[in-house]
Every structure is written in C-alpha cells, then in structure tokens.
Symmetry: C2
C-alpha cells in the first residue's frame, strides 16, 4: 500500500522515539524499530540512510521540541516565580512522558565523545538560550528575590532535583521498595 509521502517516515520516527525514550531500549536494532513501526526493515535505510542518522534525528527532534516549549515560557511576561513553576511543570511532564530521554542523551553523548564525532552545530544556539536564562536569574538576585549565588548553580540544583529521580528510577525502584510515589 502506498502511503502519503513522508507518512511512513513519521511512523518510523515515532516508533523509534517510543523505543528509545519510553521503553529505554537503547541498543534497539533496526529490525526491532522496524517491527515496532510495522514496516519493513529496509525502509529505515530508505528514509534515513543509516541507523546512526535515524538516531541522531530522533534525538534532535526531542531537543527541539523541549527547547520550543521552554522558549515560550521565558519569552512570556510571567513573573520569575511563575516562570520557574512553568519550567518545573514542563520539565516534569516531559520527563514522565519520556522517562528515558535524559539517560539516552547521556549515553549517546558518551558514545559520540568516544569517537570524536561531536558536532558543534547546534551548540551555539543552546548557549544563547541558556545565557538568557542566566541573565534573568541574575536580575532576580539583584532584586533580592532569591539568594545570591552563581546562576549556574541555581539551575544546576533545580535540574538536579527534578531530573535525577527520572534517570535513576529504574535503578532505585529495585533497590528500595518504591512505588511511583515520587
């Protein structure tokens, strides 16, 4: 059956996303992805040229998606407190929807660093976005709303508390007797 252009492509990407970020199957083979998508394995090559390209694309997609949401919050005219609350809200809902995303990013990044395949391309944008956020925090400290500290540390602490439980869940769920109460 002939599908509308790029439809199959999307199906494959969604399947890959689910495998990687929802189920945590980091070393999924092309066959497994194809099965999950309900398509023939060779179509992955047809659409994405290689396994690695697909991996990169899916990861990039996820980052863009998250960034767009965040940008929206920070460019709004909410109060600082509201912005942070929004940030937390989005962060958590994303993390619940894609519990393995962060772990996957770390794993992939290590792989790349090993092979010196790291691409600077999208790095500068990230720097800009984050630096803007730092500026906002600094202003807030000048106002005395939050304790003065290195803005880097502020974000760091925030993200630590939010993200760690997600990353470590599969592990500590076993070690302690936890339900999903956190």
């Amino acid at each position: 059956m002939i599908k509308k252009d790029t439809e199959t492509e999307e199906v494959i990407k969604q399947a890959a996303k689910r495998l990687f970020f929802v189920e945590g199957r980091f070393n999924a083979t092309t066959q497994e992805i194809a099965d999950a998508a309900g398509v023939n394995r060779t179509l992955l090559n047809y659409y994405f040229r290689s396994r690695n390209k697909l991996f990169d694309l899916v990861l990039l997609d996820a980052r863009m998606h998250f960034k767009k949401k965040m940008k929206f919050v920070f460019q709004s005219d909410l109060s600082f407190r509201e912005k942070v609350e929004q940030f937390i809200g989005i962060y958590l809902s994303e993390a619940i929807a894609y519990p393995y995303l962060e772990t996957y990013m770390v794993a992939r990044m290590n792989e790349k660093l090993e092979k010196n395949e790291f691409d600077q391309e999208h790095e500068e944008h990230a720097h800009n976005d984050i630096n803007k956020f730092f500026e906002v925090i600094k202003k807030e400290m000048d106002k005395g709303t939050i304790t003065r500290m290195n803005p880097v540390h502020f974000v760091w602490n925030l993200v630590s508390l939010l993200s760690f439980p997600i990353v470590m869940k599969p592990m500590y769920k076993r070690l302690m007797n936890l339900s999903d109460e956190e």
Copy 2:
C-alpha cells in the same frame, strides 16, 4: 610468558573498569578491552567465559567496594551529622574517581530489564543495608535534629544533589561553558 595465577585476570578487570567507569566507553568490545589490558582477546573468554559475565563481575566488584566503605561509616560511632558528612565525602571521591559508574549502572540495568535478565540475588542485602540507614534517619527525626519527612525522600534528595552533576557532567559541560568547578 606465564604470569602468576589470576594476575592476568586482575589486569583485565582493571582495564575493563577503567574503560567503563573512567572513560565511559559503555559498549566496549572484547577486543578493545583486551587491547587496553595488553592481552590477547581470547583470554577474556578463558577467564570470564563470556563478555557478559565480565561485565557483571566488574559491576558487582564496584558495588561491593562502595558498600564496604559505607558499611564502615554507618557501623562507626560517629554522630549522625558526621556520618552524613562521611557519606558525602566518600560518595564524591568515588564519583570523581569513577565518573561514569552511575551512568553505567543505569545503562546496564536498562539492558537487563529489557531482557528480563534481572537477578534478585544481591538485592536482599542491599535492602537490609538501606533499611538500617532509614532507621538511623528516623531516630534522628525523633530527636528533632532534622525536619521530619519520609526517610526515603531524605536519602533521595541527598543523592540527587550529589549524583546528578556526575551523571550529567559530560552533557552539560558542553551546553554551558563549564570547567570542573562543581
């Protein structure tokens, strides 16, 4: 050259440890490990029967090592505050010596969960140790030294703040312009 019994075995294990936990090369092949150890590839099979067995063994070793150190602290007669400080100290020095250990554990664990290969064996011991720690914390709350809360959450927060930076370092080092100040 014939080496003293189990010496080569140790060399291989050390090499694997370094690759996994220090360099973060999670998908290292048997060949790479052998090269790093300066031995023939087939010796890995000779000593450990299979790649997976080696992986498991190295991981188990690391866990034991950490546990032993921790046990020593908790069985001492230090004050609660001192115990926590010791805990933090050990945790950080371990994390600096083996920056990828935690990430590796999470990655391996996901792999195992995928394949339902999870072994309960060493789980009960871990439960016991952690439950003891929980008891200590509870007593401390009764004394009013620390805010009353679920002990699980106390440990959780502590470990979050300690561990997250280590796990995420390779990632955020790139995103922000960080040295190793943390």
